[in-house]
Each structure stands twice: as C-alpha cells, then as structure tokens.
C-alpha cells in the first residue's frame, strides 16, 4: 500500500491519532511526550504510530499535511497541530471539547 494511503487509512480508523517519536509509554522526544501527557489528561482514547521505527512513515506524514515536524495530532481526520498548538488548545479548553465530542 502506498504510504499516503496507509496514513489516510490509519487516520480514518482512529478518531484521535498521534504520530510521534517513540510510544506513549516510552516517548523518545520531549515534544511527543508532552502531547501524550495532554491526551491522557483529557482521558482521550488514541491511536499512535512511532515514526522512528518507520522511515517511510516519518517522511510520508510530513508530506501528508505539509507539516514538517513530529508530533502531529489528528482528530477525526483533521490535523490539529504539533505540540505548541496542542498545548495552547489544552490550556484554553478547546482540545478537551474536541476530544469529548469524539467520544460522545
């Protein structure tokens, strides 16, 4: 399967999807770890993919949304942002609203 198609599929299948460095239990980068902590604080159920173990994914996800950095958080198919935007949205309550809307 083409990488762009693979990415689309995984984003479709996971309403909240995080592309990160490492795993939620063992993040390999402070920015990825911060987003995991925020998602956990919001009680989000989320899928994750480790770009460090998948070079094709690492390049592919940057092209997918024209966004050159990892982590990247998607909610219901939409790129929410990297760690700066996720943190900002966590602080002002927008993120929790989006996540609750998914679960509800």
């Amino acid at each position: 399967m083409e990488i762009q198609e693979r990415i689309r599929k995984v984003i479709d299948e996971n309403s909240v999807m995080l592309f990160m460095k490492g795993s939620p239990d063992f993040p390999q980068c402070g920015f990825s770890g911060r987003v995991v902590q925020i998602l956990e604080a919001c009680d989000a159920k989320f899928g994750s993919a480790d770009v460090l173990t998948d070079p094709e994914l690492r390049d592919g996800i940057k092209a997918y949304s024209n966004w050159p950095t990892i982590p990247q958080l998607y909610i219901q198919g939409e790129l929410i942002g990297g760690s700066d935007i996720v943190m900002e949205m966590h602080e002002n309550g927008e993120l929790k609203k989006k996540i609750d809307a998914v679960d509800g």
């Binding site: 024209n66 966004w67 050159p68 950095t69 942002g81 990297g82 760690s83 700066d84 935007i85």
Partner: protein, 84 residues
C-alpha cells in the same frame, strides 16, 4: 550547520514579509514569537504552515525543533492590553 536565533529570524522575516520575529534558542531548539499581518483570518495550523513554508528546507536541515507562537499585530495589541 548550527543555526543561530539571528539566522532564523532573518530567514523568516525575509520570506514571510511584514513580520516581526523574536527568537531565542541554543542552536537546536528554538522558541519563536512571530507577529505578522498576513496571519489575519488564518487558522493556527495555517499560520504555522506559513512559517514552515518560509523556512523551507532549513526546517529539515538546520533546525531540530522550533516552538512558535503566532499572532497578528491586533492579537498582540489585545494581549498587551490584557496584561496591563
């Protein structure tokens, strides 16, 4: 090549146009505050994408991580007023 905060400021201001950029950082991780009139009416995602586009390949080659806050001149005025 290690980028300096001054390099990044110059790269962004050159390509983004009509912007004011403040950067701090250590050569690998940088924090930026970017004020640009062109951000008006854009989402945060689009604002960050504009900055990434301004940096182009530098984002891949010279910069490991860039934290940024983006705002329009009006946003900044509002923020300053709130702070007082």
């Amino acid at each position: 090549m290690m980028a300096t905060p001054e390099d990044i400021k110059e790269w962004i201001e050159q390509n983004l146009g009509q912007s004011e950029v403040e950067i701090s950082g250590d050569g690998r991780h940088f924090d930026a505050v970017i004020v640009c009139a062109g951000f008006a009416g854009k989402t945060r995602i689009q604002q960050h994408q504009m900055v990434y586009a301004a940096l182009g390949d530098r984002m891949k080659d010279d910069i490991h991580a860039l934290s940024m806050r983006t705002m329009t001149p009006e946003d900044r005025t509002a923020e300053t007023t709130v702070d007082q």
